[in-house]
Structures are given as structure tokens and as C-alpha cells.
């Protein structure tokens, strides 16, 4: 089905199952340990062997020698995979760095070998016996050093509106600030993991992967296989955050190891490898320029961004956060990319928007302070119902409603306009706000929905659930459409044998995949009506029955039926812009002695039209806020430019927030619907929560102390020199 906007009245309007706070239907399986993750499919083949990957010990250079003899002789070892015996490993379009090094090494901890052995311990022991000689090459690792060499990447022309230079030069009030954000790790709980099994030339991979179809295609490309010979299965994923959008070394090396040994092989990346072997959110340098009139009206907005990546890699699109944000007739957005020899930079939760919001939303706070305006007032003055570049109206933009609701709930009026004035015990206390703005894209998505003979329903799609709640909202969608209770719906996900969905990424998953199920259910409703002989257009589905024209039939009377449907969204963006919005509120204390920053309260008021499941949506926004708190206060992949690697490559050193860091956290959604967005009349919020909270924290730190730190994360040593003496 082609989505025709606006969506008219449809069965999802009933909101009997959809829209109700619903605990995850996969929750009991997860809490009882019966949800099977990629590494745990121990029963799929009787004689699983174990792979253990050895990462490169240098960041850039050439392998000059590799002695695997001792490893091969080590107890239990079946084989050692290296570039010499792996056969050709092609790079798919989704990977920049080769997944197997040799003879060239392009980043630290790139896989140079994998031992396959009878047990995990044997494989690990043998891996330590491999001797690799390297000829090291000079590399570039520091963005600041390479900034001047950066250029505009091929697909990213600057965007300009009006006459930015003149408008900024003549603006009565100016902010011109440069911020930096460091590289971030996805730091998901489940490391990348795969089991590979060959049967008659067909390859099955149980692999932790967010995008089944892309994963399947990439594996086929990497190994030179026909895609029809590859099956990828990924029913449960222990967090991805973008780190599992694309296949990584575990998938390809498991497949090669299995081919070489004739055994199914399972591989998980050991934790230290996850940081340098896989991908990260690149560091950025960002210059924000804001020119305003005395009364706060923005005249010029500029956002220039520098990031680095391996040759051929993508740029971090931080200006994406500024482009739809606030009205100003004169605008500049520039993205520049330098070549760095660090591990591959790639998408992490709200790529572009997350680091971009860390700077534009803090710079807006700086401007508000310059103008002596309340920062919410400044946003109100510059709010817009049309996209400031394209001029198209937003399908729905309730940004200021979010601020108003949040301000009254949070007690914003108690905030001191003057920074560094509120003291509570040993802490300076401050409040901050920032906008949450994130695109609401969609992708084609298909699903197969079956009515079984007993009246129960089965949903099958290759959509993934990376902890987001996909199982539940897809089940709710089918239950609503077919008039059955949620308990009567079984949802099966993450298998490339199922119809191709949108997958989990870019906040498009929830909107697209529920719409795909909606499309399939519509077809199934017609098939059911036809089967029992009622008029499909007049039929209503409720309480396990279909009725029309005074007649009612139990669904079991329709017999077993299956329909595969697909939603496409062509033309959706022709007349409107699609975004989700929210407002973040933060209160925190800064210790007057030690400059330790301790959050007291976080609140996000969000709007995305209809919320499919308030429970999982809230969970998603909270997770985003938590990651945003990490980015503001803790998280930094520390580059050691001498060795060209991220030095703090484990979870004891790369600290992410824990419960004690956020004692009180609340998420509220506005009511309403967005019929222009999708047949579901709403959008997903998986990335909305991480856009803005870091800046709200930075702004609260300023409000508490009068100190503006433009170099994230805001750690105690950056505040200390400017703190009042004690």
C-alpha cells in the first residue's frame, strides 16, 4: 500500500490496544533468560566450534610476518583464519574499513586473525600465541591537527539561505562560539556476536544485527555469495544504538571460519575489541554563530562542523540539528571532513543531531544570557511552523507546547536568571533547558500477518527489536486492526526469511514497521470478510469477531488465512517536513569544593503525534536522556595520538551513567495525532530523547556556576580553575 496523506479514519483510531501503556510482551522471556540472543543458539548444530579474534596491535601499517604455527598446534585448535587463507573478503557499501586486515592494517584492533577451536578457552589461549610483525606507518589521529585539511565531502554541499555573512556582520547581538565533542562509544551490553552454519552451500548466520536485509546483502557481498544463499536471524539484540546497523568482523569471520573448518562457528567480540574494532560516533569541532536583534529575533544562524573518518568514510552531520530548529532569514550550514586513521566513525543514536544539539542548544542559551532573556522566551521568539530552509510546513510542531507544559511541571519559574546565585548545602544549584528536535523519517516496510485456525494471529517481519519494544507495538498494531486481545497475537521478528521491513535505525523503525503491519492487516481484514461472506468495507473487527450488516462471525470461521503487505511512503515529503519535538528540563548541583556535577532532576516533554505504546516510548526517551547525560558529563573515547587508538577501551574506563547519576527522571508525551506522518498517525521516538539533554545539562551547569564549558564532557577539571575558592 502506498501511504496517502493525510491518513483518514482507520481502525487504529479505536485505541483499544494501541496507545495503552503496555509492558513488553518479550519481557517475561528476557527476565527469565529464555530469550535467545545471537551467541546463545547452542542447539542449532551439534558441534559448535569457537572463534576468538585477534586485533591488530598497531593503528596503521602493514603486516610483515605472521607466525600461526604455535597457535595451530595449541590444544583443541581447528584452524586459524588470516588474510592468507580467508579467500577474498570484499567490502560492502556499508563498511569503510575492511573487516579483516592484511597485509594492510587500517585501524587499531582491526581483526588480523581468528582462531577456531573446540572451546572458547582454547581459542583464546591459542590467539595469544600468534606472533604478528608489523611495519608501522604514520597516521593522523587528532581532529584538531587535521582540521585545516578538511574539505566538504562529495555529497554534502554547504547549504545557504539569504545573505548569511552580511546579516551576521550587522547583527546587533552576536554569539560566535566553538564547541568540541569527543568520540563516543555505543557501549551496548551485548557485544557483537555471530554463529555461522553452512549447509549445502547455504549460509545461516545468527547475528546481533539491527538491519537484517542490509546484513544479509553485506555478507553476500563480502563473501561473493548469491544473497539467496544467505539467511540472517536476529530475534533479540542486547542494544545496538547504531553500532549494529552494519555487519562487523564477527559475522564475516564466523562464516569464513565455519567454511574452513567445516564446523559451525560462534564468535563474540571480547569487550576491549568492541571499542576499537567496531565503530564509534566521531569527534567534532563545531562553530556556532548566532546574530540577533536586541529583542531576540534571530537574523543569522551559522553551524559549521568538522569531523574525521577513514578515507571514504562519512562526515558527522551536526548541522542537521540547526537546520530545522529556529527561524532566521540568513543561514549557513557547513560540514567538513578530514581523513583520520582512527577506527571507522559511523552512526550512533541520532547521528548528527545528538552532537549538533549539544552545541546549537547551548549556544542558544549563551545568546539568551547575552540578551538577558529567559531561554524559553528566546525559543518562543524564534519558533517556526515552517522549515526555515525549505519553507515547507512541518507536519506537526508543538515545540513551544512542550516547553510550556514542561515549565509548569518542572517549576521553571523558580530558576534564577542570574547564574551562580543559588546555593544548597555544599552545592551550587542550577536549571537548564534545551529543545529536542529529531527527524521522523520512514522507509518501505513489509510484514506477513496470518490468521490461524484457532483465531489467533501471527505477525512475521524481519524487523528487529533492539530493546526498543518493537515486538510489543507490532503486536498491538495487529491486535487493534483485527480486533483480538494482545495475548492472541504472536510476533516473530529478525529473520531474513520474513518480509523485509524498515529495520531499526534513524528513529524510522517504529513508524515504518507498524505501518507495514497495518498494511498487511488491512489486506487480511478483506480476506477474512470475503471468507465469511460479509462486505469488507463495512466490516468491523472486535472481540475476536468480524461483523457487518447485522451479521457476526467468530474469526475462527474464516479459517487460516495469510496476507503479506507492504507500506511505501513515496511523495510523503513533497509538501511537508517531518520531525519530532520535545523540551528537556534539568536541575543539578555542582559541588562547591570538588566541582563534581550531580544531576537532581530530568524532565522531557515530547511530542510525536500518536504514541503507539507510552510505556516503551517513555523507556526509549529515558534511555536517550541517559545517554545524553553521559555525553554531557562522562563519555569520551580518549585518543592516544602516539598509538592511534582509543585508550580507555573497556567499561571500567569508558563510564556511562548509572542509576545513581539520575535520581529523578520523568517523560511526558503531549496528546494528539499526526495524520500526515503515517497511517498510524504518529512517529517513533527512539532518538528524540538524546537530542538536547546534554545541552540542557551544560546550560544548567552555567546557571549553577556561571561557568560555560565548551569542551565536552564537562568534567571537574574543566570547572575547577574557575570555581570560587573555598
Amino acid at each position: 500500500m502506498q501511504f496517502q496523506k493525510p491518513a483518514g479514519p482507520n481502525p487504529t483510531d479505536r485505541q483499544r490496544v494501541l496507545g495503552k501503556p503496555t509492558p513488553r510482551i518479550d519481557g517475561p522471556a528476557k527476565t527469565t533468560g529464555t530469550a535467545t540472543y545471537a551467541y546463545e543458539f547452542n542447539d542449532v548444530a551439534p558441534n559448535l566450534a569457537y572463534g576468538y579474534i585477534l586485533g591488530a596491535g598497531v593503528a596503521k601499517g602493514r603486516i610483515t610476518s605472521m607466525d600461526v604455527a604455535a597457535a595451530k598446534k595449541s590444544a583443541g585448535v581447528l584452524d586459524v583464519v588470516t588474510y592468507k587463507n580467508a579467500g577474498e573478503v570484499k567490502n560492502s557499501d556499508f563498511n569503510t574499513a575492511p573487516l579483516l586486515a592484511g597485509p594492510d592494517v587500517t585501524h587499531y584492533h582491526q581483526a588480523v586473525a581468528m582462531v577456531v577451536a573446540e572451546t572458547f578457552e582454547q581459542a583464546r589461549a591459542a590467539a595469544s600465541l600468534i606472533k604478528v610483525g608489523y611495519q608501522k606507518a604514520d597516521g593522523a589521529y587528532e581532529l584538531a591537527e587535521r582540521k585545516d585539511s578538511a574539505s566538504v565531502p562529495k555529497d554534502d554541499a554547504d547549504t545557504r539561505t539569504g545573505d548569511y555573512e552580511t546579516a551576521f556582520a550587522n547583527a546587533p547581538v552576536k554569539v560566535d562560539v566553538t564547541y568540541t565533542t569527543p568520540a563516543h562509544a555505543h557501549a551496548m551490553m551485548e557485544p557483537h556476536a555471530t554463529i555461522a552454519l553452512w549447509e549445502d552451500g547455504n549460509l545461516t548466520l545468527w547475528s546481533a544485527n539491527q538491519m537484517i536485509e542490509w546484513g544479509k546483502q553485506s555478507v553476500a557481498t563480502a563473501l561473493g555469495l548469491d544473497p539467496s544463499k544467505v539467511r540472517m536471524i536476529s530475534p533479540y539484540i542486547g542494544g545496538g544504538f547504531g553500532g549494529k546497523l552494519f555487519i562487523r568482523a564477527d559475522a564475516v569471520l564466523a562464516a569464513i571460519g565455519a567454511r574452513l573448518t567445516g564446523r559451525p562457528v560462534k564468535v563474540a567480540l571480547q569487550r576491549p575489541l568492541v571499542f576499537n574494532n567496531t565503530v564509534h560516533r566521531p569527534a567534532t569541532i563545531q562553530r556556532i554563530t548566532l546574530g540577533a536583534g536586541e529583542e531576540g529575533k534571530l537574523l543569522a544562524i551559522g553551524h559549521e562542523n568538522w569531523s574525521g573518518n577513514l578515507e571514504g568514510g562519512d562526515a558527522e552531520q551536526s548541522p542537521a540539528a540547526t537546520r530545522p530548529s529556529y527561524a532566521a532569514a540568513n543561514r549557513l550550514a557547513v560540514t567538513k571532513l578530514a581523513v583520520l586513521d582512527l577506527p571507522e566513525g559511523n552512526a550512533m543514536r541520532a547521528p548528527g543531531d545528538a552532537p549538533g544539539s549539544m552545541t546549537i542548544e547551548a549556544a542558544m542559551d549563551e545568546l539568551a544570557h547575552e540578551l538577558g532573556l529567559d531561554p524559553i522566551e528566546l525559543r518562543a521568539i524564534n519558533d517556526t511552523q515552517v522549515h526555515p530552509e525549505s519553507g515547507k510546513p512541518f507536519s506537526r510542531r508543538k515545540l513551544m507546547d512542550c516547553y510550556r507544559e514542561g515549565a509548569s511541571r518542572f517549576g521553571w519559574s523558580k530558576r534564577s536568571m542570574e547564574p551562580g546565585k543559588v546555593r544548597d548545602g555544599d552545592e551550587w544549584v542550577g536549571m537548564g533547558v534545551a529543545s529536542a528536535i529529531r527527524g521522523a523519517p520512514v522507509m518501505t516496510s513489509a510484514a506477513r500477518v496470518s490468521l490461524r485456525g484457532d483465531g489467533s494471529v501471527l505477525v512475521e517481519t524481519d524487523m528487529t527489536d533492539i530493546g526498543t519494544g518493537s515486538y510489543t507495538i507490532l503486536g498491538q498494531t495487529a491486535a487493534e486492526m483485527l480486533g483480538v486481545p494482545l495475548e492472541r497475537v504472536e510476533v516473530r521478528l529478525g529473520d531474513s526469511n520474513f518480509p523485509v521491513s524498515a529495520g531499526s535505525g534513524g528513529q524510522w523503525g517504529a513508524t515504518s514497521s507498524t505501518s507495514g503491519v497495518y498494511a498487511a492487516c488491512n489486506q487480511l481484514r478483506t480476506a477474512i470478510a470475503n471468507a465469511v461472506g460479509v462486505d469488507a468495507n463495512a466490516a468491523t473487527f472486535a472481540d475476536g469477531r468480524v461483523s457487518a450488516g447485522g451479521e457476526a462471525f467468530d474469526l475462527t470461521e474464516a479459517g487460516a488465512l495469510t496476507e503479506t503487505g507492504e507500506v511505501t511512503f513515496g511523495g510523503r515529503g513533497d509538501e511537508h517536513e517531518y520531525f519530532t519535538f520535545g523540551a528537556h528540563f534539568v536541575e543539578l548541583g555542582v559541588n562547591a569544593y570538588t566541582a563534581e556535577i550531580r544531576l537532581r532532576r530530568m524532565l522531557a516533554v515530547c511530542d510525536a503525534g500518536r504514541i503507539f505504546n507510552p510505556t516503551s516510548a517513555k523507556n526509549q526517551v529515558m534511555g536517550g536522556m541517559t545517554m545524553g547525560a553521559g555525553a554531557a558529563l562522562l563519555e569520551e573515547l580518549v585518543v592516544d595520538p602516539r598509538y592511534g587508538f582509543f585508550a580507555n577501551h573497556d567499561l571500567a574506563q569508558y563510564e556511562v551513567p548509572v542509576h545513581a547519576d539520575i535520581p529523578q527522571q520523568e517523560v511526558i508525551f503531549l496528546d494528539g495525532e499526526d495524520p500526515l506522518a503515517s497511517p498510524m498517525k504518529g512517529s517513533g521516538v527512539g532518538e528524540l530523547g538524546i537530542c538536547g539533554p546534554s545541552a540542557a545539562i551544560a546550560n544548567a551547569v552555567f546557571n549553577a556556576t556561571g561557568i560555560r564549558v565548551r569542551d565536552y564532557p564537562i568534567t571537574m577539571e574543566k570547572l575547577l580553575p574557575r570555581m570560587p575558592t573555598v
Partner: protein, 316 residues
């Protein structure tokens, strides 16, 4: 991880004998530190002697009026002991400021005394590290050293002792009792952790080969207000950037030791004596010979301010 053999003796004496019999042996208690190091190929013992069934799990009162803490008493049990909470509050506070409940349930008193540094280069076997491989160099010296020591270091090694418990033990003047192939002896805590020499190897502990920690004794309680202030980036489950253990008397005298700033819990008698003069005087003494890196120089003013916080707190 290298293959290893394993045994579980049933007395301290049998454990020491086992050590003498085997080559490349290590004792293992809670395993929360040693197992991680083995998985990373940093420790490669050929034989593990599991000391969890040798007894030494009691906390007893000594004839002098102090406490004798068995080496296998868990951090949780030690922190929760009524006598410790009443008379040695700084110890309880230090322990519960460390790690997590799960780790403290496994971690033992002996193992905590011997826990390894958290230097990032120590944990990556591709990197030079004198502590791990004598003579390979010290990658931290000009590298990522934010968390590392600022005083008591040499160019051979600038790693910090990351323990919270040890700082409290130091301020309490604990003694470490050991049993070795040559018999039993007692080591004052101040002499237990070593500072690095100018040249590698980096010697870390005053233990001789095969010596087993059997107990830690605390002298009779000294009263006063017991404070442990841990400064950290994350509110919980994070190692100290700096920490302050102090016992403060009403007349302004007392004892103070710092964690996170040196290869051992950092205390000086002259610093104790300077307590009535305030935080600057104390910090000046403690950091008289400081040699921080650019990365961690902030620990000097930070520690001084943390001492000030502790002194202010004691006056409330």
C-alpha cells in the same frame, strides 16, 4: 588465557605448602581482580590455589582491644560488621564507596589489599608498561594519565593504587599478617604497598614469594569523627579521582590519608600534624614532592579542596 591447574587446600598452612610445590602459582580469593587480568593475558599463572576454604573468615577482637580481620572476610561482611561500623566508621564508609554490591560480596580483605592499578596501558598488552613487562617503558608517562598518581611516582611507573579500603586501612594504622614458607610475620600497612624505584621492575607489595595474607589487624579504636570522601566522575561504581580518609578529633587534631593520588595510600605524619592549620597546610605537606602530568595536575587543587570539604564537614 593460559591453561592452569587448580587446587583448593583446606588450611592456611596447606595453601602455603601448595605454593611451594607448584611452579607459577597464585592464590585466588574472590577472583574479581585476578580473573579479569587472566582473561586479558596480563596474569598468566600456571597453577591457582583457591583459598576460599582455608577459613580466615572471622572478625575477632584482639587482646589489645582492636580487631583482627581474617583475610577471607568479604568487603560486604567487613563493612557491615557492627564493631567496624561503630569504632572504625572510616573503613565501612570507604568500602561501601567502592565497586558495587555484587563485587563487594565477592571481594575479600586480602584481595583488596592486593588489587592492581587501573592504568589504561597496563590493560592493553600491545602497549609498553614496566609494571606488566619490566623494561618495556611506561606508556602512561606521556599518555592518557588523568586517573593516575601525582606523587610518589618515578618515570618507571606513575600508576595509582585504586583501592578505597586501603586508604582507610592506612589512616587506621592497620597491620597485615602474613604466613609464608619461612613462617609468619606482620607488616605495617605503611610498608605494605611500595613506591616504584627509579628503574624497573616495578615492585608493588612487600610480600615475599609464597606469602599468604592471613589477617589484617586494627589497633584499638581512637574515637573521633570518621570521614571518607570519594571524589568521582560518576555518582557510583567509579574509581576515585581522589579520595580523603580522615579521623578528626574535637580539638582539631587527627589523621588524614589520600587515595587515588599515589601508588599507595598517601599519608604523612607532618600532614596529620598540619590538620589544625587547614586544608592548604595539609595539602602542601602531602604534595611537597608531587610530580603530576598535564593530564592529572588538577588532582592537586582538587585534593586540597576535598580536604577542605572534609574539614568543613567535621565542624558541622
Amino acid at each position: 588465557m593460559k591453561s592452569f591447574t587448580y587446587e583448593r587446600p583446606d588450611s592456611p598452612e596447606a595453601a602455603v605448602k601448595a605454593y611451594q610445590r607448584a611452579r607459577g602459582a597464585r592464590y585466588i580469593a574472590g577472583g574479581t581482580n585476578l580473573l579479569d587480568l587472566m582473561k586479558l593475558e596480563i596474569e598468566r599463572p600456571a597453577h591457582l590455589i583457591d583459598v576460599n576454604r582455608i577459613g580466615l573468615k572471622k572478625i575477632e577482637e584482639t587482646d589489645e582491644g582492636g580487631l583482627r580481620i581474617g583475610a577471607l572476610v568479604t568487603n560486604t561482611a567487613l563493612a557491615g560488621d557492627e564493631r567496624v561500623r561503630r569504632d572504625y566508621g572510616v573503613l565501612t564508609r570507604a568500602i561501601v564507596a567502592g565497586a558495587t554490591g555484587q563485587l563487594r560480596n565477592k571481594a575479600t580483605t586480602g584481595g583488596n589489599l592486593l588489587q592492581q592499578t587501573r592504568c589504561p596501558y597496563f590493560y592493553d598488552t600491545n602497549m609498553p608498561c614496566n609494571r606488566r613487562e619490566a623494561g618495556s617503558g611506561c606508556a602512561a608517562l606521556e599518555g592518557h594519565s588523568r586517573m593516575l598518581a601525582v606523587v610518589g611516582t618515578t618515570d618507571a611507573c606513575i600508576a595509582q593504587n585504586p583501592s578505597d579500603m586501603n586508604v582507610a586501612m592506612r589512616v587506621l594504622d592497620a597491620e597485615v599478617e602474613v604466613l609464608g614458607p619461612k613462617g609468619a610475620r606482620s607488616i605495617p600497612i605503611e610498608a605494605f604497598h611500595l613506591l616504584p624505584d627509579e628503574e624497573p621492575p616495578v615492585k608493588e607489595f612487600a610480600l615475599r614469594p609464597g606469602e599468604l595474607i592471613t589477617a589484617v589487624t586494627l589497633p584499638p579504636p581512637v574515637g573521633g569523627k570518621h570521614v571518607y570522601r570519594k571524589v568521582r566522575d560518576r555518582a557510583s561504581y567509579a574509581f576515585a579521582v581522589v579520595s580523603v580518609a580522615a579521623i578528626l578529633q574535637e580539638d582539631g587534631t587527627g589523621r588524614v590519608a589520600l587515595g587515588g593520588v599515589a601508588p599507595k595510600p598517601w599519608r604523612r605524619p607532618e600532614a596529620d600534624a598540619a590538620l589544625p592549620k587547614g586544608s592548604k597546610a595539609v595539602a602542601d605537606v602531602l604534595f611537597a614532592d608531587a610530580r603530576p602530568t598535564d593530564d592529572n595536575a588538577f588532582k592537586l587543587p582538587l585534593a586540597e579542596r576535598a580536604i577542605a570539604a572534609v574539614l568543613a564537614d567535621a565542624q558541622r
